[in-house]
């Protein structure tokens, strides 16, 4: 298509957003590899060094890495709030986040105190830079919508998570005497429910209707869900700290209904898709919502069932369903829309001499994405089984998971390679 004389958005080079999306699957691969080499001992408890390391490889290296890049991409589109100096911001966030995550994970896995301590300034730097840049853009925009509000709350939750993480590291290093168990629960809740959960909810308001061709979320949901959830998280945290026995009531009446409502609303929107053809992203999201429902359901039951909450597999199931089943599925599905779109947009503005610009559906072929979807689903199912019977299932689960992450990395990388071939 000839775009006579039209200059497109002066977007930063493709490598600016894509470095995040190329690195993220590698961190997930490392987590799967760590599980493969640690074997059943990794799943002995939620406190096993290998599991703590794998969790941070996933939450920082995969989830936070790709959510930060998504947010930086969405701000200009949603809010008309362009991020100043995108190249510099990408360097200042991506390098310390990658290095800090690697150091933290090695520190946790090997009990290497220096590595863990060295990771802290790097991670703090990456978080602070990102939060300041995003908050500045969000503060300047005149656009008002539920997604922007959710992004503000998610940023707040990220700051709280980071502060709690720093405090925990200080406790582990012997520099602070505070109840570490409670703080770990708060750190995990603010990271997983606040930063990851609230941000996915806010982003879903945009990407589900936009990319999955569904009707919009009802205003009665978008207007209150993220703020309600954030406030409930605050109340829950205060209750956990000072009146732990009552925390389950907040979970029951405040947090779980919000999550279940969001999952059901999303699934019901997906049933109203305007296009009937099966779509990989929609299938990833369906898996994500089913995992969210399962995680919320198990969590609810455990509040009243001492047998379940004491079971060794219970915390593992919660983590696996939330991190691998919910967050990773949703992000993975989103990558299959965002990456081809970015490649397409940059090809448009380069107007390559050779040949026509491929359609977004040709940039990552459905066949390749579907293969990875199946591997991801199988890995999730096997991980859940391995939590109950670590030996020998953990090896199978980790091996399939390695394949899934490697396929994802390959799919994103081949989109980038296609861009270079056509733009050259």
């Amino acid at each position: 298509m000839a775009l006579a004389g039209l200059s497109l958005e002066q977007a930063p080079p493709l490598s600016v957003p894509l470095r995040f999306f190329l690195t993220a699957p590698l961190f997930a691969f490392l987590a799967a590899l760590l599980l493969l080499f640690s074997g059943p001992t990794a799943l002995a408890s939620r406190w096993s060094p290998a599991l703590l390391a794998a969790t941070h490889l996933l939450t920082l290296g995969f989830i936070t890495m790709s959510m930060m890049a998504t947010l930086l991409q969405m701000l200009p589109v949603l809010a008309g709030a362009a991020v100043k100096q995108p190249r510099l911001v990408a360097w200042l966030v991506h390098v310390p986040l990658s290095a800090g995550t690697l150091l933290l994970a090695s520190g946790l896995a090997a009990g290497w105190k220096i590595g863990m301590l060295a990771s802290l300034p790097l991670l703090a730097w990456a978080m602070l830079t990102f939060i300041l840049v995003a908050a500045y853009s969000l503060a300047r925009t005149e656009a008002r919508n539920a997604t922007i509000n959710a992004m503000r709350l998610a940023l707040g939750a990220l700051a709280i998570t980071a502060l709690l993480g720093l405090t925990l590291a200080a406790i582990l290093a012997g520099h602070a005497a505070l109840p570490a168990l409670k703080l770990t629960d708060l750190h995990a809740a603010w990271g997983l429910l606040g930063w990851v959960g609230v941000l996915i909810i806010g982003v879903a308001y945009q990407v589900v209707p936009m990319f999955q061709m569904t009707p919009a979320y009802a205003t009665r949901i978008t207007a209150w869900l993220a703020p309600w959830f954030f406030i409930m998280l605050l109340i829950w945290s205060i209750t956990v700290w000072w009146a732990e026995d009552n925390a389950k009531w907040v979970a029951l009446t405040g947090l779980a209904p919000g999550l279940i409502g969001f999952a059901l609303a999303t699934l019901s929107l997906q049933r109203k898709r305007r296009r009937r053809a099966p779509d990989i992203t929609s299938q990833f999201w369906r898996m994500g919502m089913a995992s969210l429902l399962a995680a919320s359901g198990i969590w609810l039951v455990a509040q009243f069932s001492p047998a379940l909450s004491a079971a060794a597999f219970y915390p593992l199931w919660l983590g696996m369903l939330w991190i691998v089943g919910f967050a990773m599925s949703v992000i993975n599905g989103m990558l299959y829309k965002i990456v081809p779109f970015l490649v397409w947009l940059h090809l448009q503005s380069r107007r390559p001499a050779r040949g026509a610009i491929p359609n977004t559906k040709e940039i990552i072929p459905d066949k390749m994405a579907r293969r990875q979807l199946r591997a991801h689903g199988a890995a999730l199912a096997l991980l859940l089984c391995a939590a109950v019977l670590p030996n020998p299932l953990v090896y199978m689960a980790a091996a399939v998971w390695c394949v899934s992450c490697a396929l994802l990395a390959w799919n994103v990388f081949s989109a980038y390679r296609l861009y270079h071939r056509l733009a050259a």
Binding site: M1, L6, E9, V77, G80, F341, W344, L345
Partner: protein, 73 residues
């Protein structure tokens, strides 16, 4: 005789089709013509493209939730 206004209803299309069709329609747009673009959301990135390429534009928000963007030279 060319019509004074061209209508492009991109409300039911998956990105990046709306942008693709809009850019194609702008290529064809005659100096005395206007393009009316219907979208489910406000296209902030498009405004940048229009401003840089010397197009005028005006956005109306419709009560049933969609946006109409009027574009001319």
């Amino acid at each position: 005789m060319t019509p004074a206004e061209i209508l492009l209803d991109a409300r039911d299309l998956e990105p990046p089709e709306p942008l693709e069709l809009t850019l194609a329609a702008l290529d064809e747009l005659q100096p005395d013509q206007r393009l009316r673009l219907l979208l489910p959301r406000e296209p902030y990135p498009l405004y940048g493209i229009l401003d840089r390429n010397g197009y005028q534009h005006e956005t109306e928000r419709h009560p049933d939730g969609y946006f109409a963007i009027l574009i001319w030279r």
